[in-house]
Amino acid sequence: MIIVYGWRSRFKPEAQLGTEKCENCGHTAEHILAKQLNQATLFGLPIVSITAKRGIMCTCCGHFKLLSNDEYKAEKSSAEMSVK
C-alpha cells in the first residue's frame, strides 16, 4: 500500500488591516493579519497543523512582518474593534 504523505506551509488570514505602504515592495496594498501553519498531510489532507509564525502580510508581495504573541493579539483585537 502506498501512503502519500507530505508537509506544506499555509497562511491563514485572520483579519484585514486595511491598505498601507509595504516596506518591501513599496506598493500601497492590502495588509492582513495572518498566521503561518505548517501542516503534515496524508493523501493531500491536513492531519496536523502547527503554528509556525504570526504576523502581518502584504498581499502584493507576500512580505511577512513577524509579530510576537502579545503584539499579534493586540493587533487582532484592535482589528476586531474597528470592524464593530
Partner: protein
C-alpha cells in the same frame, strides 16, 4: 556568445553538482566493490562448537547425517540441518542450504566407507544452538535406540554452536554489490538529469537568440567592467542587463533601464509561495518573478542580489 551561454548554464547546473553525481556514479560503487572484496577475502578460523563466537569458521568433516529438520518459509526450504562427523570423530550440527553436495551418511557412504575419501572443508558462521533445535537433535539421535544423550549433557556432545554454511563472507559481501549498483544507478540518473537540464537551458537561450537578443546581451556582459554571475539566486547582472533563470529553465532578460522596482516576492499567481522570487517591475506595468530561492530559505546572497539590482535601476526601486 557560446562562452556566455556556458556561463549561464553553469549557474543552473554547477560543476560541483556534476562532480557529486559522478562520484556517486563511479567512485562510490568502486568503494563498495573494494569493501566487498575485503569482506569476501576473510580467512576462516577453526570451528570450535563450545565457544565459537561469530567469526567466520571452518570445519573438516567426513560426512553428514540427516537432515533431521528443515527450516522453511512458505513452501521453500531455507536451510537443512544435519549432524556432521568431523575429523576428530565428534558430531557437530551443520546448517546447509536446500541442496548440498556433501556426502550423506546412509546414502552416499556407510559406516565402513565414510572415511575412505578423506575430509571435506565446510565454511560458515557459528550460530548458537537453540533449545528447539537441540530437541530435534535429541529426537533424531535417540531413535530407535536411546543413546543416553539428553538435555543436561547435550552440550558435552554437540557443543553450544552449530556451523551455518549459508552465511559465508561472499554471501555477506553481496549486500555491498547491491549498494554499489544502487549508487551507480542513482548517480547516473542524477548525472543524466543534470545533463538534460543543461541542454534544455541551452535550447531556451538559443531560442531567445533567434532575433539576436542574446548576442547583444553577451556583448554587453563582455564589455561590462564587473559583471555579476550568481548561482544563488540564479541570475546575472551587467551594467545594462539582468538575466534570471528559474527552476523551469525559463530565462528572463530585461534591460535594467526598463526596470522600475525590484523586491523579494512570495506571491505567485495570487497565491502565497514559501519560495522567494526576485520580482522586477517594468515601466509598462509588468511584474516578472524569477530566480527563486529554495523553500523557506533565507540567504544573504539573495538579499545582496536585490540590493545590487536596486542600486543599478534608474527609476523607483533605488529610492525604496
Amino acid at each position: 556568445m557560446e562562452e556566455f551561454k556556458k556561463r549561464l548554464i553553469s549557474l543552473r547546473v554547477t560543476p560541483r553538482t556534476k562532480l557529486i553525481c559522478a562520484l556517486a556514479a563511479f567512485a562510490l560503487p568502486l568503494i563498495f566493490l573494494a569493501v566487498s572484496f575485503f569482506v569476501s577475502a576473510e580467512k576462516p578460523v577453526d570451528f570450535i562448537p563450545i565457544d565459537s563466537g561469530s567469526a567466520y569458521s571452518k570445519a573438516e568433516i567426513y560426512a553428514v547425517d540427516g537432515p533431521f529438520v528443515q527450516e522453511t518459509k512458505g513452501e521453500r526450504t531455507n536451510r537443512n540441518f544435519y549432524l556432521a562427523i568431523n575429523d576428530d570423530g565428534y558430531y557437530i550440527v551443520l546448517a546447509t542450504g536446500a541442496h548440498t553436495d556433501l556426502p550423506v551418511y546412509g546414502v552416499d557412504v556407510d559406516a565402513d566407507s565414510y572415511t575412505a575419501n578423506g575430509t571435506t572443508a565446510v565454511m560458515g558462521t557459528p550460530e548458537p544452538i537453540s533449545s528447539e533445535l537441540a530437541a530435534y537433535v535429541l529426537d533424531y539421535i535417540n531413535y530407535p535406540e536411546d543413546t543416553g544423550i539428553n538435555e543436561e549433557n547435550f552440550s558435552n556432545y554437540f557443543g553450544d554452536y552449530l556451523l551455518d554454511t549459508t552465511q559465508t563472507p561472499s554471501r555477506n559481501a553481496s549486500v555491498y554489490y547491491v549498494f554499489a549498483a544502487t549508487a551507480f544507478i542513482v548517480g547516473i540518473t542524477f548525472l543524466l538529469t543534470y545533463a538534460g537540464l543543461g541542454k534544455k537551458l541551452g535550447k531556451k537561450i538559443d531560442a531567445l537568440n533567434s532575433d539576436g537578443t542574446m548576442d547583444k546581451v553577451a556583448a554587453d556582459f563582455e564589455a561590462s567592467a564587473q559583471p555579476v554571475y550568481s548561482k544563488t539566486p540564479m541570475a546575472a547582472v551587467s551594467d545594462t542587463y539582468f538575466v534570471g533563470i528559474d527552476t523551469q529553465n525559463n530565462v528572463t532578460v530585461l534591460p535594467l533601464s526598463e526596470v522600475t522596482n525590484v523586491y523579494e516576492c512570495n506571491i505567485i499567481n495570487g497565491q502565497y509561495s514559501p519560495t522567494s522570487y526576485i520580482a522586477l517591475e517594468t515601466a509598462d506595468g509588468r511584474r516578472v518573478c524569477t530566480s527563486p530561492l529554495a523553500k523557506g530559505g533565507k540567504d544573504a546572497r539573495f538579499a545582496d542580489m536585490i540590493s545590487l539590482l536596486k542600486s543599478k535601476i534608474s527609476v523607483g526601486g533605488a529610492a525604496l
